[in-house]
Symmetry: C2
Subunit: 188 residues, 2 copies
């Protein structure tokens, strides 16, 4: 592993506010931030990000990002999963927030490790429930793209690239499987 | 959603140590812990847990838990994914730690939402690389079970139950697909 399990710097204990120090806890094998006051171990784990490749009459819904990173690039609607929701609900919520679109959720499409971001990306298939969409707060524009017109050089993230390619290849082949892949670590 | 996105109580900012307060940040729609000193928003998200249904000569490797919760119950080797590793590496590491077993990883088997725990469980298929295994620090015992002898009433977690059933059903049917399910919320 090239990344330590420490993630972001956690200088203080979120429970009691005391300073932390880095050490390997007694029953552990990796360094963690540990509270010098109450001995709480501050674990950090990868975060799930959930998205939806949504189609309407054969075209694919993409959002132009209004926020960093990759501002101005096109993305499959996706974002951090929240506590209290399931993966499918997260996919629908993100599509609603970024593309103002109501989607009928389809089967899971892809699971992609994005190690350098400390994230696991999960994508579903979806279909527009109504032919309505618009740019949400995090989008500059939302468009339906014919497969042959997808702006591949302007796709924001490699996981979205993987999901889009899987979606199109599987649709062409008439299959619906869940693809698993570790994203390349040399790009977003 | 029945659970708030607040998760565990975070009284202090891990960056600066100041007190937090609960509020809905300006660009957000949900209450979060926000630092009263440096305005850092303390997001909490579901955590990925990764496991492996490992077979050897038709039998399935299970571990008897030496730790809470569900001490004494049987489980598919599984645990929290670490930063810096991918899902497949996490599945191999957990099987090594809990069952002292080296595994040849197979295709992904199942993805299970465990909402009440704030977790997403991902299971792979695997085969013992060598016919050796033993109880790791977190296990009281490790055994290979014939499918007909699996102690279904003593399986620790519903996600493991789902993964084992999928594994056996799919093996019987001669298919290898990724199953997605939301675990029942009325049990572990």
């Amino acid at each position: 592993m090239s990344v330590t399990p420490l993630g972001t710097v956690l200088s203080h204990c979120p429970k009691c506010g005391s300073d932390t120090r880095v050490e390997v806890p007694a029953d552990d094998s990796m360094p963690r931030y540990v509270c010098t006051g109450c001995a709480t171990v501050l674990y950090e784990n990868p975060k799930p990000v959930v998205g939806c490749v949504t189609e309407h009459e054969g075209r694919i819904l993409l959002c132009k990002r209004a926020i960093k990173p990759q501002l101005g690039f096109w993305t499959v609607p996706a974002g951090f999963m929240e506590l209290g929701e399931n993966l499918g609900e997260a996919a629908l919520r993100e599509t609603r927030e970024e593309a103002c679109a109501e989607v009928t959720l389809g089967p899971m499409l892809a699971v992609v490790d994005v190690i350098q971001a400390g994230q696991v990306h999960v994508f579903f298939r979806g279909k527009l429930a109504t032919p309505e969409f618009a740019a949400g707060d995090e989008s500059l524009d939302v468009k339906l793209y014919e497969p042959g017109e997808i702006p591949w050089d302007e796709i924001a993230f490699s996981s979205g690239n993987i999901a889009l390619k899987q979606f199109l290849e599987q649709r062409k082949a008439g299959v619906e499987a869940v693809h698993y892949e570790v994203a390349p670590t040399n790009r977003l």
